[in-house]
């Protein structure tokens, strides 16, 4: 009898009562995906007792991905293990992005709130939709949270896109929970994480029914 299933979504081991939840931080290059994970890791490393794996080359750019696994304990009788990934944002690394998306359960779309990055956000979201479609997944069905990052830059006088514009550009159709955030300062990084974990776990539970 099979004791482990790889559902369309999470990896579930019924014998060991273990669920692995894969959450991918997606978005344009330099948008702050890695910074989100770094913040979580730096701030909570003692509590979550883990190591973050980062593959960086070409300066500080993420060439492959960042990986932050941690255990949130037993929920509803299952040991829930969370795996956070980031993808390389640069357009040329689409193959890596696609690979990282394999088996994804939840998405955090980290948009760059800088005015000059407006088009990049849109292109990246389209790219996400295409890459998910590659795995027969719909961006409209997968749990997803939007994060509008870098709002702290306003203090430095850098032109930012108003939230209304970001919502219209990126979330008009999706209508997902969205947060203004500053991954650098940690503002709403945890809220984003909590939201995506609870949405994803709830979604997996529905799939298991």
């Amino acid at each position: 009898m099979l004791s482990a299933y790889i559902f369309n979504m999470a990896f579930v081991n019924l014998k060991n009562k273990e669920i692995q939840v894969k959450i991918v931080y997606y978005g344009p290059g330099r948008g702050g995906k890695t910074t989100n994970l770094e913040y979580i890791y730096k701030k909570f490393r003692k509590r979550i007792n883990t190591e973050m794996v980062t593959v960086k080359t070409h300066g500080d750019r993420t060439l492959f991905f960042d990986f932050l696994p941690f255990d949130i304990g037993v929920i509803n009788g299952y040991d829930v293990k969370i795996q956070l990934y980031t993808v390389p944002g640069q357009v040329k690394y689409n193959a890596t992005r696609r690979l990282v998306l394999r088996g994804v359960d939840g998405i955090v779309f980290v948009a760059d709130a800088m005015a000059v990055r407006r088009e990049k956000n849109i292109l990246s979201l389209k790219n996400l939709q295409e890459n998910l479609a590659n795995y027969k997944k719909s961006i409209f069905k997968i749990p997803c949270v939007m994060q509008y990052n870098k709002v702290d830059l306003l203090e430095q006088g850098i032109p930012l896109l108003p939230v209304e514009v970001l919502e219209k550009d990126l979330n008009d159709q999706l209508k997902r929970p969205s947060f203004k955030a500053s991954a650098l300062n940690g503002t709403n990084v945890v809220m984003t994480l909590k939201k995506i974990i609870s949405m994803t776990v709830a979604s997996i539970k529905r799939d298991l029914k």
Binding site: R30, F70, I75, V116, E119, S138, D172, Q173, R176, N185
Partner: protein, 289 residues
Amino acid sequence: MVDSNKDDKLDHEIAQRLDDLFGEGDATSSKSNALKADDAPVNEKKSPNQQPVDADDDEIVELEDLVANETHAESTADDHPLVELKNMVLSIDWEITDEVLSGFLAQIDALKKTYKNEKIILMFLQLLGSLGEYIKTNRGNAHPKTFKILNSAFSRLEDVVEKEDMAESEKKKLLKAEMNKYKQLRKQVAQRKTTEISRGQAKPVQKDKPDLSAPKKKKSARHPDKVSTAVEELKQFIHTAVEEENLFSDSGAAKSYETITEAVDELKKFIHTELSALRQELEMLKKSR
């Protein structure tokens, strides 16, 4: 009803666990740094349901429908002369394409005309132009530090242009710092080339019988085009170095001479290594016949 109670219990359980793990009570390092940003989602009212929006399996909505019309991107250009260049620098950071790099270099040329009487700004533009040319030639293989230096040089240029009350000495200091980074990069690029070439030379001679079935053209790693491109790069480096030395040096001529000598030596060494490699390849070809 039972299911709904179970769901509530699960939600509560997850929320509780996440609060335990990620509650910011004691772990918060700098709440003062945090913005006054709301913790609630910005669109809570719009989408109170945390569950994903239901959609049919076949509902792969047209990409054009997913996002709002992207042609409506408003111009944020204001009247700032560096805005377009900034866009290009950010774009290079995102992806290296012909379009982006041509745009970048065109911006540099345009700005050179605008600032033709501002020597320090011109030098910054010269430096950025050299980096742009180098990236254009080498694309993803450009030295990793190039992108950092490009960003930092642009930031300093912004400072110089924006802070009109900045003292001339301060401007020179900023430029010199960037030039030093550039010089360092130049050395590292030259070293990398030399290493690559010597690695190429150390390649074992192919002893297998060559495949004569198809008279295929040998693709040489040291194609003449590559040699000339490399020489062009070095020329560009030399040009910038000379300009730089003229600007900073009190005894400009002596230092410029020194730089030129150094660069020419570098160039000679490079060409010499390239030629040796070509000779070696020719020998190999002769032997294989």
